[in-house]
Symmetry: D3
Subunit: 311 residues, 6 copies
Amino acid sequence: MDMNLNKKYMIMEIAKSNTKDNRPFIKVVLIDKDGVQIQGIMFDSNKLKFDPQKGDVVDVSGTIQSYNGQFQIKINNMSKMPEEESKDFLPKGDFDENQLYDEFVSFVESNLQDRFIKALFREFKNDQDVTTKFKKMPAAKNVHHAYIGGLLEHTYSVVRLAVIMSNYYKVNRDLLMAGAIFHDIGKVYELDISKGFDYTDSGKLIGHLLLGIELVNSYCAKIDNFPELYRHVINHMIASHHGLLEYGSPKKPKTLEAIILHHIDDMDAKVNTFKSIFIKDNITAGGWSNYDRLLERQLFNHNIMMEDSDA
Amino acid sequence: MDMNLNKKYMIMEIAKSNTKDNRPFIKVVLIDKDGVQIQGIMFDSNKLKFDPQKGDVVDVSGTIQSYNGQFQIKINNMSKMPEEESKDFLPKGDFDENQLYDEFVSFVESNLQDRFIKALFREFKNDQDVTTKFKKMPAAKNVHHAYIGGLLEHTYSVVRLAVIMSNYYKVNRDLLMAGAIFHDIGKVYELDISKGFDYTDSGKLIGHLLLGIELVNSYCAKIDNFPELYRHVINHMIASHHGLLEYGSPKKPKTLEAIILHHIDDMDAKVNTFKSIFIKDNITAGGWSNYDRLLERQLFNHNIMMEDSDA
Amino acid sequence: MDMNLNKKYMIMEIAKSNTKDNRPFIKVVLIDKDGVQIQGIMFDSNKLKFDPQKGDVVDVSGTIQSYNGQFQIKINNMSKMPEEESKDFLPKGDFDENQLYDEFVSFVESNLQDRFIKALFREFKNDQDVTTKFKKMPAAKNVHHAYIGGLLEHTYSVVRLAVIMSNYYKVNRDLLMAGAIFHDIGKVYELDISKGFDYTDSGKLIGHLLLGIELVNSYCAKIDNFPELYRHVINHMIASHHGLLEYGSPKKPKTLEAIILHHIDDMDAKVNTFKSIFIKDNITAGGWSNYDRLLERQLFNHNIMMEDSDA
Amino acid sequence: MDMNLNKKYMIMEIAKSNTKDNRPFIKVVLIDKDGVQIQGIMFDSNKLKFDPQKGDVVDVSGTIQSYNGQFQIKINNMSKMPEEESKDFLPKGDFDENQLYDEFVSFVESNLQDRFIKALFREFKNDQDVTTKFKKMPAAKNVHHAYIGGLLEHTYSVVRLAVIMSNYYKVNRDLLMAGAIFHDIGKVYELDISKGFDYTDSGKLIGHLLLGIELVNSYCAKIDNFPELYRHVINHMIASHHGLLEYGSPKKPKTLEAIILHHIDDMDAKVNTFKSIFIKDNITAGGWSNYDRLLERQLFNHNIMMEDSDA
Amino acid sequence: MDMNLNKKYMIMEIAKSNTKDNRPFIKVVLIDKDGVQIQGIMFDSNKLKFDPQKGDVVDVSGTIQSYNGQFQIKINNMSKMPEEESKDFLPKGDFDENQLYDEFVSFVESNLQDRFIKALFREFKNDQDVTTKFKKMPAAKNVHHAYIGGLLEHTYSVVRLAVIMSNYYKVNRDLLMAGAIFHDIGKVYELDISKGFDYTDSGKLIGHLLLGIELVNSYCAKIDNFPELYRHVINHMIASHHGLLEYGSPKKPKTLEAIILHHIDDMDAKVNTFKSIFIKDNITAGGWSNYDRLLERQLFNHNIMMEDSDA
Amino acid sequence: MDMNLNKKYMIMEIAKSNTKDNRPFIKVVLIDKDGVQIQGIMFDSNKLKFDPQKGDVVDVSGTIQSYNGQFQIKINNMSKMPEEESKDFLPKGDFDENQLYDEFVSFVESNLQDRFIKALFREFKNDQDVTTKFKKMPAAKNVHHAYIGGLLEHTYSVVRLAVIMSNYYKVNRDLLMAGAIFHDIGKVYELDISKGFDYTDSGKLIGHLLLGIELVNSYCAKIDNFPELYRHVINHMIASHHGLLEYGSPKKPKTLEAIILHHIDDMDAKVNTFKSIFIKDNITAGGWSNYDRLLERQLFNHNIMMEDSDA
């Protein structure tokens, strides 16, 4: 049942070992452009012309073997592709990132009124390195919004909810929007999409809460007379948005905007997670998902449609 | 510094004891119509013409004594007032309950579309005993919305958020509204305002989640062909709306509507709690509240106003 | 080492996929009448004459393949058997359910004295649908009493312990018996043995505590003048019998009968679990079981026999 | 309202301080023979002829002062009584300890059969120092069986339950009895009734689990050929009887006898606690207790009597 | 027993209220230069010439009243002293801060070797505002090292332990020293000694971990070519030094230096806490402390001296 | 790709089963003298001349098969080697145990001064059975110091830290050393290296804390006038050294020596764990370890060398 194969993949995981008789071999997890994963194994891997790393895009030649309904590639050889091809191998959302980013910017700008928050957003918008990453980054390695542009999509959603809720509860709209815009901004430095959604060193050592605060502080420093109280209140929203210490927030929410931000962020992430699981487990037509280990439950897509009372 | 006093109070707490020489005395916590609490003590309480109970409205004559800036009433005598006077002694919201109830009903009716959920709401509306209590009940003994009409106010707020969120996240609006309407409905039997916001026996034995489900089940039983799946999904929303087992929900939220209901309910309760603490601790002009033992934190009312960028 | 095979199995788990070249295949976990599990795989599963589901009894033809000491069936074809055959494929206790049920009924009837509890038990006995399920149901999907009739066996045991303990501690025997009889009764609707001990929708959405209370409430409604306090106290025992909120009880035990019920239920379940593990791990002759992940420990069957002092 | 007073008390708590002008004074909590507590204060306490300590029985002369319904003694002088009078000042059970002890011994002896466990019990019985303390000791400083003879009463109860349960579940009766007899035996060295139910140094440093194991080991050492496995299995029951690590057991129950012992011990303690609270809070005629901080709940004494169906 | 009094105090706590007849009064907790606390009450406080605040040093005239062995001042009047007097009213360590600071600096400088860490320390040393605060600040509001100079004393101790442990475990000494020097540096902005050891706004909103990281980042920014990895690794030590998320660290220790820093910091704080409790509870001559609510235990000062074997 | 093989292994894990056609087979995990693990399978295992057990050293003949980069041995036959060969198959530290033990003894003896602690150490030294095991035992089955001599190495390290810390914090050096020497001594009876680092019955039933206290008590019993307070204080250090109840300590540390012992023990174990993971995961040249499930984190070996400032 073997088939020859010649195809481009991204390396998701790689492990290097030696066989009993000391010939080097590598085992890899590969992903193709459609997001389908497959395992691969290559013996005598010292014959490769490059040192393969997680995140590399490679052109693979080999044969497909099957066992027990699973397939693996016995790799004969592979060559490394240019780094820019990597973007083709990551899960994508169902939107165009540039267009969504423009929408996001125009939504923010048409709603902001406070001159300091406006200035803060301007600093962000002018930070080429950050906005470029911001458009591409997923909101998490897995869990929720785990696809190209997920961070942007989630942030934009939380910002819209921030506007809705600040009107509903009569709190400071511009501060809450600032909290929404920057609550996850540290993720642009926490994750590295060039390596297949992996964490960076600073991401693992410090995490996106502190990286986000550091970034916001750098913007504030560039704005004349940016009030310290603003800065502390925004930093507080970023620091406390996970809601509880055991979820990684060094402080619990202590302001109205911080408690609202925590809830709309958590709700938006959970709704996206539920919907993603329904899609992943193919429960769109109704029924129960598989048991989810992070949520510690099965999810139910009841599929009940509203019955019009005139029907 | 003693002063004579003759005034109506409600009994909030009562403890009966004997002095060393075996004369009966009672200690009470009293509340006046303005919500101000004061302690009272009455010696030789066997001379009273009635057996005083928590929740009784009493006409007290005595003298006020002070010590260390605190006051207590040395009660000479008291007589019991008719039960209907009790409503004057409970904290009130800043709204008219009947008017708010009418608003609530018309909001619900103008938004519902599904014939079963409509029928369910009709059963509720026709349940005189329940709606009468529903208009008066606080949402909790203390913590959040702890005043006459608090349950109505909180429920109406969660229903409006349910409409907003079902539009935002494209979930079944009528089911989410049903969850919002009935999530705390069991509180009409869990609390007893005739006793000064105390818990009932069934409230302490079973709790509002199960009392609410029992009530919804009784409504469903009266509706022809009410679908079992609807009933289970609504019961699930009520059962799971505290979000976690350790908060008293026997099931975690497993549907999109259940997870959204949990978040908007929790957010609405927390925002109300924050605002109530700012008022109670007089932090409306900005600054820090006292340490709150339930929230395990101090709250900060930053008092930042948005600065118009044109200013 | 392949062998042809033609045998009846029940489908325990089923997953449907497509191969790389888009041919449908299914992977199943099968169980035979002796309770032995085996994995199966069938390619080109579209040729089947029925849509296979969890819980189906199927007549399988195929070949057995082995790898690494594990076996799987390469399925050539299978046909669906009538539903009533499913009962042959479930683990069984070492007793006759009908006989044990009769014993249980006669034990209960000879011990009950209170006319309301007697009436309650009569309603149960006359509920054909419930008693039929009650005789067959396991007490849990796995963990304790996980075999046909397990719920009956466990309930009967807790009822006997209830009689013993109400005599020992001088509490209300009939109420404690009522709590014992109905504490797990909701499991008749929580589990579905026609699907191989799987959970029902309402089981996953509401759970057996609430389903049991709903059932008891429906019985009470049929009894003239059934006292509300009785009903609340029995509901409380059902609701609180897991002992702690984090174990899924929305209320902690607050009456003497409720605290006793919690302990005898938990003890009976644990003793059965210990004994089942000793059997499963074949430790009847003494020694240590494997590490049990739910109990978070290894168990020790010390196998010490009492030495007669006259010996 | 001052009254002169001359009466014997035991000192429950004592704190020594100096007034602003450096005159020594002491504050005490006193208990009389009826178990009634009162606070006392003595200025210029340096004039006392002895150094008062917790647990001392003292003859107090002074005046009673009242404030706010509470009383305190302004102590003029006090003298120390002989230590043996202390036994009159401790809460008592409603039984004679010597008679109950004899019952306990005869119950144990008529049920034990294994020669090693019999020998072990003989060692205990011959340990004058231990049995003397065992008859008097409470089972806890407060919480459950917190009165003279409470340890004996609780132990005897757990032993009877051990016999019942070993018959019911067919486990090793004599081992389970040994576990029951010795599970709390370390309390004879953990508490010191000469000091008013206070903890000893070793009680606070090591605790009754380890003190009990040490004692059992000393008995085993005196018995020829006492099997090491018996000793380990009995030590295990003592060590694990709190059920969980966070309750102070260094090991979880891993044998059938250990898991049963844990449940009957916990049930017996809880039932006693519930009953004691009903008495303490005077809820014997039905109703709700005060909120109990250790149990984290109010308790309900429903007071339902069984209604004879012939009535 | 009233005495006139005229003395300087610092205001530790202040609450402003109105009497029933609407006359303003204040209640205060005052501390004198010896650290002795006393409560005060002043009626008609509107006659004061200033608005009294927490942290104010005031010259108080009034009378001392006693009740039940406790004293309070009935304040007739008070006037505000210059702010610089506040330093006399805070608990002090048994050392001279300037001298200890010089020792600390010379210890650090004689041990540092790495040029970047040296530069980092130089930035700190030149930050007048920070070092001035650093010399005076306590290490905590209460708990450990809760006295003037406590932060310096604790930091110096952890730095010495860092040198010992880096030699012992062969880890990067200079990095571990940097972690030790800066782990609590954020406390200079978290606490405000001008207000009697109270927390600042940014202390409550962000906390000393994040404030410390912000400060270190500002120093790094001034040093040419300061390596990013150094910065992340030092930030990680600061962020993770509480060891666990639930203790407020957003990351767990992941480097050898971080895990060692966590342990020596925690040990040094605990040893100081134990010693402080022995002093506070006057257990220096041996025996048991009072029950400590934060540590959830009583402490034992065994007072055993080593017995020379030649004795 | 099969190869014949004839080699000695130790059996780490063994499971015995029957094939479908009832032929007995065994699956084993084997380890060779270099610590490399491999799986083995033997069909028709009834032909073996002995009953293979965990911990047996066996001479295996068979063929190596590979699949997917993993290897297993198809065993044709094996014979049992003498028990003393087992020591060659266990992981080893990088030191000579006898030499390290001599160092340890001489370090202890040159530092001890108190005659009772000296006597206690003498008893230990003379306990041939214990010291023999002590030299060989690992400090844990896995986690930290999990190699021959690991217990000795860890104990010696904690003893040295005890000397350092008792000087640093001015606590009773000899008591802290006694705590350090004996804190893990119960492991000599908790683990059994003749079975490949497995736990003994008493290890699983009682654990090393209680086994160590039992051993220390037996030594104390042999020393004239050994003070009870010494014994309790040492027992307390052993009992409390895990720091928290949930980590298996029945008491929390309550003395200065106990709290220090807890910290240096935990630090030493963690540092060894970190270093072992860096070696195991081959991160000695810098970078991140794999995710460690017990530590719940990845570890970072930053590999930063101190840069001399003169460079």
